[in-house]
Amino acid sequence: MNMAPHDTLTRADLSHLRAQFPILSEKVHGKPLVFLDSAASAQKPDVVIDAMSTMMRTQYANIHRGLHWMSERATEAYESARTRVGEFLGASSREEIVFTRNSTEAINLVAYSFGSLLKPGQAVLISEMEHHANLVPWQMLRDRVGIELRVAPITDTGDLDLEAYGRLLSDGKVALVAITHMSNVLGTVTPAEQLVAMAHDAGAKILLDGSQAVVHRKVNVAELGADFYTFTGHKLYGPTGIGVLWARRELLDAMPPFLGGGDMISSVTFEASTWAPVPAKFEAGTPAIVEAVGLGTAIDWVENIGFEAIGAHEATLTAHALKVLPDVPGLNIVGRPKERGGVVSFTMDDVHPHDIATLLDRNGIAVRAGHHCAEPLMRRLELTATARASFGVYTTQAEIDVLAQTLTRIRSFFV
C-alpha cells in the first residue's frame, strides 16, 4: 500500500484497496461476495496476514526475559506494536497501552480491577445503547460489590439523552461512566467530549467503548480527555485475539492487577508477590505476540490511507445507503442519530430480519441480523431483531445498490 493520504478515495484507489483483500474475490453460493458485515468483524488486508506469517516464519520466539536474538527481535516487534497503538490513540506514553484479547476483555479488566476500588453507595452509569460487552461486566460488578448500575436513556432518534445523562450524574454518586463512542446498532456517534466534560464535572471517571469508533474516525484520547478507552483488533482490519485497553497512567498505577502469572510480577515468594510496573502488571502470561504485531501492521495500513479519506468514503457510503434503502418497499431505517458512522440497521414489513439475512446470503450478500448483542436496546426500540448493513473502507456504492435491489426482490417474494 503506497497510497498517499488524501481527502477521499477515488475509484482507482478503491479498486487498488480492494485488491489487497484476498477474500473479496471469493464467491458465495456462486455469487461475488458482497461483505456488508464489517461492524461484526472486518476483513484483513494482505499486509496484515503477511506480517503474521512472516513473523512466524522468520522471527519468532517467546518475548521478554529471553536473552537470545529471536526473543529480542520478537520482543522488539511486540513492544513496537504497543508504541504504534499508543501513537494511534494519542496516549501520553506507550506504557498506557495494555494488550487484551478484545474489547470485551478490556472492559472486564476495568470492571474487575478499577471496579474492586468501588464501594456500595457508588454507581456506574452506562447507556441504553450499550453492547453487552459494556453492560454485563457492570452488572456482574454490581452483583459482586454492591454498587448501583444506572442507565442513561436515548431519544427516539437514537441519540443519547444528554439532559437525562446530566440528571443521572447530578448526585455525585457516579464513580464511573462507561459509554459507547459509537453504537454498533444505530451507528450513533456519541458526543464524547461533552460526555467526558460532564462526567468529570460530576467527579466521575469515564470509559469510552471505542470498538466501533476507532474504525471510522481519528481518535485522540488526550483531546477527548477520557480516562479509559477500549477497542478490538479484528474490527480494525487486524487479527482476532488482540484488543486494547488505554487508561491514564495514574489510574493503571493505582489499580490492582487483574490476572496473575508470569511477566506481571516484580518478585514472588509463597507469602506475597509484588507487581511489575504498568503495562506488564496487566499482561499476565504469554501474550498474543503475533496478533499484536498484526494489529500494529493494520494500524500502519489504516493510517497510511488516512482517516480523512476513510471518513469521507464512509460518509458517502452511509449517505448513499440512507438515500437508496428507504426506497425499498416496506423498509424502515432504525435510528436517525445526529452524527453517525457506517452502520445502518433496518427492518422490513412482513419479512423477518433472519429471513432477510438468509436470502441476502443466498445472493452473496453478507449482513447481520439479530439483536446485535444489544438486547436492552432492542427492547427500548420495541424490536426483537434488526438487519444491519455495515461498511468498511473496501465497501463500494455499487454494493449498496445491489443490497437495495436484492431487498426489493426479497420483499416482493414475501408479499
Binding site: 453460493h29 456462486g30 455469487k31 419479512v351 423477518h352 430480519p353 433472519h354 429471513d355 438468509t358 436470502l359 446470503d361 443466498r362 445472493n363 441480523a369 439479530g370 439483536h371 438486547e375 432492542m378 424490536l383 426483537t384 431483531a385 436484492t406 426482490r409 426479497i410 417474494f413 414475501f414
Partner: protein, 145 residues
C-alpha cells in the same frame, strides 16, 4: 434474479404468510412456550390430547418465516397422532436437521412425513436450524407436562 433456491419453497412462504393452525386451543390439556433469545423467535403452543391422540393443537408464533412455517406444519403433522408418535417425530426432525452432513444422508436415514422435507435445505444453513426446531421443542414440553 433472486436466488432463493429451494430453501424458501412455496409451502414455507405460504404457511408463514397464512398459517392454518394459528390460535389458541380451548380446554387445552397442555401448553408450552419456546423462545430463542438470540433472535426473539417465540412460539406459544396449546393442545388437547389423550394418551391415544392429539385432538387439537394451535400455535401463536412470532418469528421468522422458517419458525412460523415449522410451527404450522408441525401442528398439521401431529394432529390426530398419539403423543408418543409425536414425540418420536420431534426427535427425528431435530436429528435430521442437526446431524448428518449431506441432504442425501439425511433423506436416507430419517423417514419423515413428506410435508416436513421442505426443511431439508436448512442443513446447509446451520445457523437457522433452531428456527425450525423451536416449535418441536415446545411440543415436547407441552406433551410431557
Amino acid at each position: 434474479m433472486l436466488n432463493v433456491v429451494d430453501l424458501y419453497g412455496e409451502q414455507i412462504v405460504q404457511r408463514a404468510r397464512k398459517p392454518l393452525f394459528a390460535g389458541v386451543t380451548e380446554k387445552a390439556t397442555g401448553t408450552a412456550q419456546g423462545s430463542n433469545p438470540m433472535c426473539g423467535d417465540r412460539v406459544k403452543l396449546s393442545l388437547r390430547a389423550t394418551d391415544a391422540c392429539i385432538a387439537e393443537i394451535r400455535h401463536q408464533t412470532r418469528g421468522c418465516a422458517i419458525c412460523m412455517a415449522s410451527a404450522d406444519l408441525m401442528a398439521q403433522t401431529v394432529v390426530g397422532q398419539s403423543p408418543a408418535k409425536a414425540l418420536e417425530l420431534a426427535a427425528r426432525f431435530s436429528n435430521m436437521l442437526e446431524n448428518g452432513s449431506t441432504e442425501e444422508e439425511a433423506h436416507e436415514s430419517a423417514v419423515l412425513p413428506p410435508a416436513l422435507e421442505v426443511f431439508l435445505p436448512l442443513k446447509s444453513h446451520r445457523s437457522r436450524v433452531r428456527c425450525a426446531t423451536l416449535p418441536w421443542t415446545a411440543l415436547g414440553e407441552a406433551l410431557t407436562q
